[in-house]
Amino acid sequence: MILALRRLAPLMWLSPAIALIGVVVLWPVVVLVQSSFQQIGGEGFVVGYNGTANYVNLFHEPDFVSVLLRTVLWVVAVVGVTVLLSLGLAQLFNQRFPGRRVTRWALIIPWAASVMMTALIFKWALDPNVGVVNVILHRIGVVRQLGSNQADWLGNPTSALIWMMGVAVFVSLPFTTYALLSGLQGISRDVYEAAAIDGATSWKSYLRVTLPLLRPAILVATLINVINVFNSFPIIWEMTRGGPGYETSTSTIYMIDLKESDVGQAAAMSVFNFLLVIVIVLVYLSTTRWKEQVG
């Protein structure tokens, strides 16, 4: 009897966490999937079962394919550039130099500041008439006239997307750099000494020693970034609202917009997003053979 209770003891300790995950994570997923098969109007009333109509309508939206392709581009570009820059930054912050402590602290600022705030600051800085970016570019002669097409970076879908990717990289750098930096600090000095004795140049030891040993850290940083960036919302919402039309929308922005008129179809979009993230993560994990790395 007592033995049986003892066996159950861990469950007792775990139950709050399990309950929390069940209520906060699993239950919403169940409701989400359920909603995606129901007809729900803009006022949130469930009209009834809708079969797969929400999905069919979603796939037939004229902007659906372009929104998806843009989302893929957004994720690949933002995460790719973030990881590359962070590798460099982590290397830099791993060196000894005066003021290292202060600069390491300073790196936290883009992460600590509200993303919405950061997005708004960039939006104002890019104002075609009075934005500080344009005023500087005008003074040095890059922007010929303030208030012109050329100065309206956020009005043109291509340049708007590039600027917003820049902001997304900016806010993703701190976390990624810290993750890689901790990875770097975990690599033992002995390995480098051994490499040096074997005659490895610094570039070679970076490629053959640092990068392979850093792979677990890169793996985790990339995965977390992919999920974050895929679902990223405030930057695009504040800077262009996905416009003109849907030409700077990613699937998350598109889902929010759908929600105004059709909650069911918006739920279908969310389910699709959810599956897409899972697929991307699984493909990434299998190609990087994560078990050998992390396990």
Binding site: G41, G42, E43, G44, F45, P62, P128, N129, Q145, G147, S148, N149, A151, D152, L154, G155, N156, A160, T240, R241, G242, G243, P244, G245, Y246, E247, D257, E260, S261, D262, V263
Partner: protein
């Protein structure tokens, strides 16, 4: 039309979105209120913010009414939530989707809420619904019953910067599209924006309708959506020409009305369609003197419009919290003439009740407009409009860069499916 009248010819309440004020983000978290201990009922009043800053925020206007009302009715408390115009529709919608119902809203009203049985008919929550201006009755009516109760009304005019006109050597106000184009080109050559064309998501549906009307078009013909009608396509083809000639601000499809009005107030825009809500913005910017700008009827394809876009903002009373009696007491109180007139004075808008309109009918400024109000053109009032409006706001700006007929046909298709 004399100048003074023209200047103040009333303007859209919708327009009052002037307060993009970030500070006004309403919370959607509080509950719908209810009967507390001691038999006190709390009403949740959700209003749009018409103010241009903290000094004339709409919360202030409502607080005056509420404190007088609470004194007279100690058993009822009223909580006021004010929301910036840009977020009003979606925040109210979110409250409703989450079943956190307000008791009363003042701002945009959609017949969908009536269709879903969420609203009290006007006759249940007003002692004298017949006093509401009859011109706007149709817009608030669903299945023959009036649910939307107009609270404030207004319309649009064409504002222009006389200083820039003189510099560009233009003698008179534009009356036709051709004159708009010629004048805009001249002002653009001075290095300023010729015509301010806000087709961004904030209020593209209003700007678009003003141009559609110019060639006799509109969103509907005889109650059916005709968004891709020939006159509408003609209007957007004209606009596309204006945009590609560089006579508007760059990328109109991404520019919001509030931002562009501020630029007009800074003296950097030659012409723009506006409402009296633009006047306080011009005054607070302090760049243009009152002799530097004026407003005239909106230019059409071959001459100025004889009708204009008439807009009313509505009060809607929500059923789910079951506060009919208390809502009625509050609305009867709030619809008193003195509060109607105070609102119009504060925001340069027009009254929505017959008695308040009568009190103003001898006013040299408002009087003539009040007689013209019954002929104004209004937005569609069917249940599809909420969806159509949201899509128009997001995508119609593409019609001035892409193909007008393709974009308008897509919107027409959405409207047909939604109705």
């Amino acid at each position: 039309m004399d100048k003074k009248f023209a200047r103040r010819i009333s303007g859209a309440a919708l327009a009052a979105a002037a307060a993009l004020a970030l500070a006004a983000c309403g919370s959607s978290g509080s509950s719908g209120g209810g009967s507390g201990s001691g038999g006190t009922t709390t009403l949740k009043l959700v209003v749009a913010d018409y103010g241009t800053g903290p000094s004339n925020a709409s919360a202030k206007y409502w607080d005056t009414i509420v404190s007088a009302f609470e004194k007279a009715h100690p058993d009822i408390k009223v909580n006021v939530t004010s929301i910036a115009w840009t977020n009003f529709d979606s925040e109210v919608q979110t409250m409703i989707q989450n079943k956190q119902y307000p008791d009363i809203t003042e701002g945009d009203y959609f017949s969908n809420y009536a269709q879903d049985g969420l609203l009290y008919p006007a006759s249940d929550v007003l002692s004298n619904p017949g006093n509401l201006l009859p011109a706007f009755k149709a817009q608030g009516t669903y299945n023959g019953v009036q649910y939307g109760m107009p609270f404030t009304t207004s319309s649009r005019t064409l504002f222009y910067n006389k200083k820039l006109f003189t510099q560009a050597g233009i003698a008179s106000a534009p009356q036709t599209w051709a004159e708009i184009q010629a004048d805009a080109a001249k002002i653009t050559r001075l290095g300023d924006v010729g015509f301010g064309l806000p087709l961004g998501a904030e209020e593209a549906q209003a700007e678009s309708l003003l141009w559609m009307l110019g060639d006799g078009g509109g969103y509907q013909t005889a109650g059916k959506y005709t968004i891709n009608s020939a006159p509408n396509v003609a209007a957007f083809t004209f606009l596309k020409g204006l945009v590609s000639a560089g006579d508007t601000e760059p990328n109109p499809g991404t520019v919001n009305r509030t931002d562009l009005w501020k630029e007009f107030a800074d003296g950097k825009v030659g012409m723009i369609n506006g409402s009296p809500a633009l006047i306080p913005i011009i005054q607070s910017a302090g760049v243009l003197q009152s002799s530097d700008w004026t407003s005239v009827p909106i230019a059409g394809k071959t001459g100025p419009l004889t009708t204009t876009l008439g807009v009313c903002d509505n009060v809607a009373a929500f059923k789910p919290n079951g506060h009919a009696a208390q809502i009625k007491q509050f609305l009867d109180f709030a619809y008193q003439d003195k509060y109607q007139l105070a609102f119009d004075k504060e925001y340069d808008l027009l009254p929505a009740t017959t008695t308040a309109a009568k009190a103003l009918s001898t006013d040299p400024v408002f009087g003539p407009f009040l007689t013209a109000l019954p002929n104004s053109v209004q937005y569609p009032s069917d249940t599809a409009w909420a969806n159509v409006k949201a899509k128009v706001q997001q995508t119609i700006g593409l019609a001035v860069t892409g193909s007008p007929s393709t974009e308008l046909s897509q919107l027409q298709q959405i409207a047909t499916t939604a109705s």
